[in-house]
Amino acid sequence: MKDQHSDNDPNWKRDFPIEKTKATHVSRREFAKFLGLLSGALAISNGGIVIKSLLFPKEGLKGEHFVCNVSDVAVGEMFQFEIEGTKVVPYILIRLEEDRWRAFEQKCTHLACAVRYRADLNQIECPCHQGFFDAESGRVIAGPPPRPLPQLAVIIREDKVYVTGKEEQEQENIS
């Protein structure tokens, strides 16, 4: 320290020294203080997540949404659609068998790449990093995705396909 500053220098002179080399010098003491500050900032950010999840809980899809006619999707095919709410979310509708339908969010849970249905494997594939999901439940079979694909409930009525939130349909079934 003594070669950088005189011990008797006032604080302002230490913070704004005349020589540039002295101004850019970061002592270990200052670095340690910065780490303390960073530690506080990280704790506050973590608190922000708690506050956000308390104030803005994630809401499932509300109501029924028309997707397409039954005849528009052949067995083993995939149909892409979007639902506009507070934000536009892309989904895929899969016709596994004649009367077996599944709907999932199209964004991979890894890095939000668009997933696609592979009829030959009966799995949903994320082509970006070779993530594979079960076409029945959306659970992760292989690859880097950390969570299953969010799923919607499919309702077939009068040859028309509708989707609704999974939780909403479960509540209806209970009542």
């Binding site: 003594k2 270990r28 340690a32 203080k33 303390g36 990280l42």
Partner: protein
Amino acid sequence: MADFRESQNKAHPNKTNTLMTAIIILLILFVSLQIWFLFGALNNALQENFNFALTTFIGSAILALCSFWILKYLPDPKE
């Protein structure tokens, strides 16, 4: 006449250096743990796992308090 502090400093000239290094290493450890917690909380918050977010926040806050507390022991070059 030399006092105790002066004698100690002469007997252990590297003491300040060791202390400073130890504190910085501890601080880096705390910050690394906090980054890990934050990363986990961000991932789990997406899955609506509120308890995980709360637990990591408490852990992170305790580590932050430890970081502030340990700064008290930073060696002062003036002494």
